[in-house]
């Protein structure tokens, strides 16, 4: 059988995994291969000073070959989004691998060279947008003062005072917009992300919503969850992220400070690569019993979710998806969350229960109090998209693009 060969470009990828978009790239690639009819090769980045800048190293993990381009730690502003050295390496790889299609998945730091190189080799590109790297040099539309920017649509002229250098930012903005016109299709993980991007002039009319999936719970998960609930009667709150303003930790801290009961447990996950986000002293003043939970991967995330009853997702910016929310919902875990962009598009929470961004801590405290008062921990798992579904949808998008290419030929 003639396999379709997809070259996935993603800033991180196994063996160097990091972040939600990487989880999606890895899991979709695995699901595509499992589904059959596809061969997937990956190009991603690393930063090491024991091999030369822009050297390439081939690796293979979990059956997927990943070409790592070694970039210098410090690169100029322009090299972050369009790096000729990276482009040259990508062109060499595309020439050698001859993929049928390139999936430019999460390409911050790789830059637009992937599109340039693909164009040079006549290989169609599906571009997937994550976060707002394509609109905002700060990637998350979070200003210097750590407040959500809130522009909708984004107008680069309004970025003066926030960006490092306005004319450099404008050049970047225009370049990225122009490059978006060269791809066959743009996918967004949410309607919110697509509307904001297209309203801002990015790849107008070329976008589709391609929702991210999650890994469903393992068969043993619910037994594990029940066993923990039986052995420990306390409600357990979980928080995935660092103690940053933008992730809403200060609101959580303030909300907990007003809670009288101490009969609950809290877990904060240190998602950093070096375990530096959390220190025990940060948590010692909070009521309840708090622990730092180490960073987990897809294969052991059930262990974490079996430990919690409520996921606190207090992001203070409008995110494009929110993987942890879907993972929790699929496992029958209550979610308390902000009204934060694409993170709410699962439909599991009523609009009036979504906490507005920048709201004072009262509303969060009220919802947590309610959970503590009711003592209710069981909740039916909520149906969400799985990675297998997401891969099938991607397969349909690939069909569509390749058919268009054939028609145009």
């Amino acid at each position: 059988m003639n396999l379709r060969h997809i070259l996935v470009a993603n800033v991180f990828f196994a063996p160097f995994s990091y972040g939600g978009a990487t989880v999606v790239a890895e899991q979709v690639a695995t699901a595509l291969i499992k589904q059959g009819g596809y061969r997937v090769t990956v190009v991603s980045l690393c930063a090491r000073n024991d091999i030369a800048p822009y050297d390439v190293i081939k690796s293979q993990k979990n059956g997927i070959v990943n070409y790592l381009i070694n970039v210098p730690e410090h690169r100029s502003y322009g090299e972050i989004y369009n790096n000729p050295e990276v482009t040259a390496r990508l062109a060499e790889l595309i020439s050698a691998l001859e993929p049928d299609l390139i999936h430019a998945h999460c390409i911050q730091d790789i830059g637009t060279g992937i599109i340039t190189a693909a164009e040079g080799a006549n290989v169609p590109v599906i571009l997937s947008v994550h976060d707002f790297w394509w609109l905002c040099e700060r990637q998350f539309m979070i200003k210097l003062d750590e407040k959500y920017c809130g522009q909708n649509p984004v107008r680069i002229d309004r970025c003066k005072g926030c960006v490092d250098n306005f004319w450099a930012a404008k050049t970047r903005f225009n370049h990225l917009q122009a490059m978006s016109e060269k791809v066959a299709l743009v996918t967004y993980p949410s309607q919110f992300a697509m509307e904001l991007s297209e309203a801002s002039g990015f790849a107008k009319g070329r976008g589709v919503v391609w929702k991210n999936g999650v890994n469903p719970p393992e068969p043993a998960f619910f037994n594990k969850q029940a066993a923990r609930r039986a052995s420990d009667q306390r409600i357990t709150f979980g928080y995935v992220g660092g103690p940053a303003q933008i992730k809403g930790w200060p609101q959580i801290e303030q909300a907990f400070a007003g809670i009288k009961s101490g009969k609950f447990r809290g877990l904060v996950v240190d998602g950093s690569r070096d375990g530096s986000w959390w220190q025990a002293k940060q948590l010692s003043k909070l009521p309840g019993s708090w622990e730092i939970y180490p960073r987990f991967e897809q294969h052991n995330m059930d262990d974490f979710y079996a430990e919690i009853d409520v996921l606190l997702f207090m992001s203070q910016w409008k995110e494009t998806f929110g993987l942890a929310i879907r993972e929790a919902l699929a496992r029958g875990i209550t979610v308390i969350q902000t009204d934060s962009g694409g993170t709410v598009e699962h439909g599991a929470i009523r609009q009036e229960d979504l906490i507005p961004i920048a709201a004072p801590p009262g509303q969060l405290r009220e919802q947590m109090d309610q959970v503590l008062r009711s003592g209710k921990r069981e909740r039916a798992p909520y149906p969400v998209v799985h990675f297998a579904d997401q891969a099938r949808e991607f397969s349909a998008l690939v069909d569509q693009v390749l058919q268009e290419v054939e028609r145009a030929a």
């Binding site: 396999l3 800033v11 991180f12 196994a14 063996p15 160097f16 990091y18 061969r39 980045l45 690393c46 930063a47 090491r48 000073n49 024991d50 091999i51 030369a52 050297d55 390439v56 190293i57 081939k58 690796s59 293979q60 993990k61 059956g63 070959v65 990943n66 070409y67 970039v71 730690e73 410090h74 690169r75 100029s76 502003y77 322009g78 090299e79 972050i80 989004y81 060499e92 790889l93 020439s95 050698a96 691998l97 001859e98 911050q108 730091d109 040099e137 700060r138 990637q139 200003k143 210097l144 003062d145 750590e146 005072g161 926030c162 490092d164 103690p243 303003q245 200060p250 690569r273 070096d274």
Partner: protein
């Protein structure tokens, strides 16, 4: 001048100070200012903490260790299995111009003409050598000797599951060839000792490869005495550069000055011994007519020549391929005597190809691969015994027009039979099969 939003930054500093403490706030502020001053961008990648510069022979050790820890070290399938397109990475000793031309650049042209991508790197350019292996389907090595660096390349090639071909055009691995190599007599004895001590390093490379290619049938025979690896012949040929440069040299050749020039070219040291094989008849021939000249191109120690011959000698220093061919084009014939020893039986016919490219007939010893390119009496002469040299020289001198015609025949023979092709006398079919299937 750098413009900073000071009020915002102060607020941010205070916020971090409150949340994460003085150290973190100062570090982050310093990082921000440094980035702004240097015009750096903000990327998502941070430097891997387990890395540090190492010696060149350990260039890959750090990344190997990391990949091994991450269970990402092994490439499970040879890249040629699922790829239609072939890509050769060649790591070579590119220091010798002639070797680079005939065994590397020529091969690059050959494979590219067949749609096979071919990249090469000097073995001391470790980052490039490493890089070109990563997306190759095959590794070829030329003239490398075993060392910590080449062992590292081999290790990487095996990690990447690349089949390995080792190529050689001199019996550098052979103690028996060096010990009986007559040209060594003209050189410092210390040099021979050095070559002998290096020989095992070449043999080690041969035996670590999957397959071997050599430049002549004689070399293949000799290599088979040392290695059990399959050995195939890829002869040197006249590439497009040679044919073009030869044509230009012929075109630019000045008017005939009536001299009869006999050329002897030497690309390396020690060939005085070869010329000594025929020095007596050659001297007699040159001195028999004041209009005859012995043209010595390249390395040659004149102390090895009789004093009486010196007034009729023309020296040409070797200064690049084009100038070499330009000088050769002025000759009426060229001589290639070789001592009959194990080393020379491995020799290729590149000097015959060079002479033919400028339309000059060759008189060659029946040693090595020289005679395979010469059609006796048509494109030159193969001297079987001592007297044949004088007979051939006299025949050519007797009728320079016939000699010139013989040179033209040599050029035609070169264009028809000795240019790049996949004919079995140029490249063994097994080598093509090794790459393309």
């Amino acid at each position: 001048m750098l413009k900073l939003p000071l009020l915002t930054l102060i607020r941010r500093f205070r916020s971090v100070l409150k949340r994460e403490g003085t150290g973190a706030a100062v570090l982050r502020a310093a990082g921000y200012v440094r980035r702004r001053v240097r015009g750096l961008g903000t990327g998502t990648l941070s430097l891997a903490t387990d890395t540090g510069p190492r010696g060149s022979e350990q260039y890959l050790h750090g990344i190997w260790q990391t990949l091994a820890r991450q269970d990402a070290f092994h490439i499970l399938q040879a890249p040629g299995v699922d790829r239609a397109r072939r890509q050769i990475a060649m790591i070579a000793d590119l220091n010798l111009p002639q070797c680079r031309k005939y065994r590397v650049e020529q091969l690059a042209g050959f494979w590219r003409s067949r749609g096979v991508e071919f990249e090469y790197a000097h073995y001391q350019d470790i980052p490039r050598a490493t890089r070109i292996m990563q997306h190759a389907t095959h590794l070829m090595e030329y003239r490398l000797q075993s060392s910590a660096v080449t062992d590292m390349f081999r290790y990487e090639a095996r990690r990447l599951r690349l089949p390995i071909l080792y190529d050689l055009d001199d019996p550098l691995f052979s103690v028996s060839a060096y010990e009986t190599y007559r040209n060594m007599e003209a050189l410092d004895p210390g040099l021979k000792s050095h070559f002998l001590s290096e020989a095992p390093k070449y043999l080690s490379m041969m035996n670590g490869a999957d397959i071997m290619s050599v430049s002549t049938p004689g070399m293949a025979q000799h290599a088979a005495l040392y290695t059990g690896r399959p050995v195939y012949v890829r002869r040197n040929f006249a590439d497009a550069e040679t044919l073009c440069a030869g044509a230009v040299a012929m075109l630019n050749n000045g008017p005939d000055d009536g001299m009869f020039r006999v050329a002897f070219a030497s690309g390396s040291q020690g060939h005085e011994v070869d010329l000594a094989e025929i020095l007596e008849p050659l001297s007699e021939f040159i001195q028999a007519d004041r209009g005859r000249r012995l043209m010595l191109i390249g390395h040659f120690d004149l102390a090895h020549l009789p004093a009486k011959l010196k007034p009729q000698i023309e020296r040409v220093e070797f200064a690049g391929y084009d100038r070499y061919l330009a000088a050769l084009a002025r000759a009426n014939c060229t001589l290639m005597p070789l001592c009959d020893d194990a080393f020379n039986r491995c020799k290729s016919a590149v000097r015959v190809l060079d002479a033919a490219s400028v339309g000059v007939p060759s008189i060659v010893a029946d040693v090595g691969d020289l005679s395979s390119v010469v059609r006796t009496g048509e494109t030159g002469f193969v001297a079987q015994k001592g007297g044949d040299w004088m007979d051939a020289l006299r025949a050519l001198a007797a009728c320079p027009k016939d000699a010139a015609q013989m040179g033209r025949n040599a050029r035609v023979n070169l264009e028809e039979r000795w240019r790049a092709s996949d004919q079995p006398h140029i490249i063994a079919p097994e080598l093509i099969e090794w790459v393309e299937t």
